[in-house]
């Protein structure tokens, strides 16, 4: 990820605002603090892995960033703009995207239709009462995205008939619709076979350099191969940040997460 790091360094050096900036973000569910005082800065083009055990608050963090949950305290800035109070669709229209831990797809529709819906969602055609023409630019974009995630052969297949791995790939295609500026990937490798994981790494490393992302991933091999920096979470707090190599060798991290289980 050395080249990608250079890109995020270069983008930051030009004075571009941080892609994502969380300051003092907390999320309470009654007495339970799912997130506590999170400070997180991700530069434009940066690829960050967020790691942590179940219940560490990783998905809650994503939900706060996308607006599925409003944080109890703190501010969230996206490319310099305070989006803390924005509804989810306004954040998406500003170039933020996400995938879900459990695939949320329209299973009755074809692969291409799912991606087409995603392309329409971030276009001005959302309220169009006119069906797309054969040469519609959004249909062409959807076809390109289907190609990017290697689903050309399944283009007209109903999503319900896709394999689990293909559904994860489709989630990624939908997140790429409409030139995103930043993507949140929530465990994209979960449940994938080794071959599908390799394909996923290939897709993620093939994304344009300016497109930054945060990836939540339990598979350290995948996470460390697609991220240039790592944030470790535990009990709703950030307790370590650094380069993948530093994190891998950190004794505290090893004791907590890598120790016996990670070979």
């Amino acid at each position: 990820m050395t080249e990608a790091a250079t890109v995020s360094d270069r983008l930051s050096a030009t004075g571009t605002a941080n892609a994502l900036e969380l300051r003092g973000v907390s999320k309470l569910f009654g007495a339970l603090a799912a997130l506590e005082d999170i400070d997180l800065t991700v530069r434009p083009g940066e690829r960050r892995a967020v790691l942590g055990s179940n219940g560490a608050g990783k998905t809650t963090l994503f939900n706060c960033v996308t607006g599925d949950f409003l944080p109890t305290r703190g501010t969230i800035r996206f490319f310099g703009e305070d989006i803390s109070a924005f509804p989810p669709h306004e954040r998406i229209r500003r170039g933020l995207r996400r995938t879900y831990q459990i695939s949320l797809l329209f299973t009755g529709l074809s692969v291409l239709d799912n991606v087409y819906l995603a392309c329409v969602g971030v276009s001005r055609s959302r309220f169009s009462f006119l069906r797309p023409r054969r040469d519609d630019a959004l249909v062409a974009s959807a076809e390109d995205l289907v190609h990017v995630v290697h689903l050309d052969d399944a283009r007209d297949t109903r999503v319900a008939n896709l394999s689990y791995g293909q559904q994860r790939q489709l989630e990624i295609a939908m997140a790429l619709a409409g030139a995103p500026r930043f993507i949140l990937f929530d465990e994209p490798a979960a449940g994938l076979s080794p071959t599908e994981r390799r394909e996923l790494v290939e897709i993620l490393n093939g994304l344009p350099d300016h497109m930054g992302y945060i990836i939540i991933e339990h598979d350290m091999d995948v996470a460390l191969r697609v991220a240039e920096s790592v944030t470790m979470m535990h009990n709703g707090r950030i307790f370590k940040q650094g380069k993948p190599a530093e994190i891998e060798q950190d004794p505290e991290v090893q004791a907590l997460y890598l120790g016996g289980g990670h070979g």
């Binding site: 239709d113 169009s128 069906r131 959807a142």
Partner: protein, 352 residues
Amino acid sequence: MAVTERDPARDARPLSWIERIPGRYWLIGAALLVMPVFASDFVLFQIFGWTFILGIIALSLMFLGGYGGMVSLAQMTVAGLAGYMVAIFGESAISAISLNWPWYIAIPLALAIAVLFGTLTGWLAVRTDGIYTIMITLAIAAAFFYFVRQNYVMFNGFSGFNGVLPPDLFGVDWRGPKAFYYLTLFWAVICYLAVLYISRAPFGLALQGVRDNQRRMSALGYNATAHRVAAYAFAAVLAGIGGILLTWQSAQVSPGTAGIGPAIDVLVIAVIGGMRHPVGAFIGAFVYVILKTFALDALVAVGLAGERFQLLIGLGFLVIVFWSPDGILGLWDRWRESRGKDPLLDRGGEGP
């Protein structure tokens, strides 16, 4: 799903819109067009005219319920309001209230007010889900009924308006059985095709997406609330057209036109026909009109009180909902599926 689906064989030569219409549509279309040749005036005006009108109003509910997952009991209220507005802005026998404006102002204005009302109803109703949507729209329907019944200055209270007739356009008496049949058929076809077309346009697809998974649609950039309100606005156009035609058919509009009973009848029609496809609204309307028209005679013939015809409608509703929650369309689909089954293996005949 046909929006982005492409058959490679078709890419070579795109089919014209005429070629894409299935044969059965041509057959039904031809039968409906020549109907006045062999059908009586009663059948044309009372059976088919009424079927098409109720079908259009039920179609507005089908659009909201089938594609948007929102069951509104206020569609007959929107229809009734459009009827009232035509009577108020246009001509009626109540000359003290009616403004006698020309039809080209009165009709668009009536529709616009109905759409505004439908949109406001939607704006209130989309904040709720399921049973609460039904309750809030029922409350709006009830409030409208009691308001127009008690308001004599504008709505002429209990009596409403009579003598509300279609405009005398092209020298045709549009309330004549044949002309009225073609008028209602024309608008039924327009509304049906509009719903069919929009269901596969970005707006319709997004509405179905919101119905299936609102959270996911928000994560794709859609404003789910705005989509739902817009769906109410479009449904109000349909209901408004139906309401104006209904007022012309009976030449009158009164609180009873948009009472609680008719509001629920629209739901019954939509459910009997099936909410999965726009044609269900017209199938349901046809069954309802037949029952409502002939049940009385049937009951009297077997020695029962004629006024109990609503019992037959209720029983029919019960049977259909019990056997097929998808209405008559669902029954039809099941019958077609059972025909394709291997009776020995109890599975589809095609493939293993």
